[in-house]
Assembly symmetry: C2
């Protein structure tokens, strides 16, 4: 394999580089590639060989109950899970010799770079470590979401139905101030600074 190789789509990626997953340490950031790999029938990870698994979820993705559930299932199965507010690209660190990074969508498929150049792999590892240290452990994230989490679906429904904050607060049994506080937290978690952006992001994340 060349020092860097670009493939298109997950099937091609795993056909060409699936064997690289046979490592004892795996770290990943963002959401979908790892999920695709775990649900892909070939090749499956050797459960005894993998000694350390780390996963960083995006904060915005964690607003989705199914992602949140998945994070907890992974944690229960021994993975180290953190949550980051940064909008990281899909990244997979396979041991210390290979890295897979997602690129752009083209022709309906995402491209992936499989990198084995030692300098690049090392640099990406260092960046991953920095992002990992800055991210919140899952339990800290959970604690900070105690007030927002149960209200998120209701708030998103109210916003998507076009209710004013006053009407939405009444509908959800909250004061106007608290409703607005929760909306601000939700917008921050989605990385949105305006209501339009929040609507766009919520739809993009599949939350509405």
């Amino acid at each position: 394999m060349d020092l860097i190789e670009v493939v298109h789509g997950e099937r091609e990626l795993f056909a060409r580089a699936g064997h690289l997953f046979d490592v004892d340490e795996l770290a990943c950031a963002a959401n979908t590639l790892f999920t695709w790999w775990r649900t892909n029938p070939e090749p499956q990870p050797n459960p005894r060989r993998l000694k350390r698994l780390r996963k960083m979820f995006r904060l915005s993705a964690m607003l989705d109950p199914s992602w949140s559930q998945q994070a907890h299932v992974m944690a229960e199965h021994g993975a180290e899970v953190r949550v980051t507010a940064d909008e990281l690209n899909e990244t997979l660190l396979l041991g210390h010799r290979f890295v897979i990074m997602a690129g752009d969508m083209s022709r309906g498929e995402r491209s992936y770079s499989v990198i084995s150049a030692p300098e690049a792999v090392q640099g990406i590892h260092a960046l991953y470590e920095a992002a990992w240290r800055a991210a919140s452990p899952l339990e800290v994230h959970d604690a900070s979401m105690v007030e927002l989490r149960p209200l998120t679906p209701g708030i998103l429904t109210a916003l998507n139905d076009g209710l004013t904050d006053e009407a939405a607060a009444r509908a959800l049994g909250l004061s106007l101030r608290t409703y607005r506080r929760r909306v601000a937290e939700l917008m921050a978690a989605m990385g949105a600074t305006s209501r339009f952006q929040a609507g766009s992001r919520a739809r993009e994340l599949g939350l509405v």
Copy 2:
């Protein structure tokens, strides 16, 4: 075929009901089913047999340049095209004996009802005619979009970037009043009454 039949997905629909498209008059509402049919290799419409083709596009869809382009291409090829502000479901009227109506997504595929019960077909025809009369001919729609159309991409970008109206107006070379006038028109075209809804709809329509 029974008086009403439900199928799942476009492939099954055309496998089961493709022969029904061999009619001399066809009317449809909304966007994707007709497009799917025209790009499906089997069966193709008999160009000499089809005497009248009518198509109603949703106003919100017409904000997308590719849909707008498609509407014009159809009009140039002899179809009667109108634009409606109503959020119609996918509907195909095949002559005066069959109707296909889209249902919900399930298991990643949309369900379709193929209806041949004469009373239902007649009722749906009457509703279609009413909606058709209420819709705007393509040229009337175009005239009303003269100011908004060229600005739509820029406005959507500005909104999605979280710019204030004042900053966006400056960026687009418009006065604040005119920018806000255009945003209001865009929101009306999308059927949105709040900025959050507009963001959600824009993302849903693939406009951002």
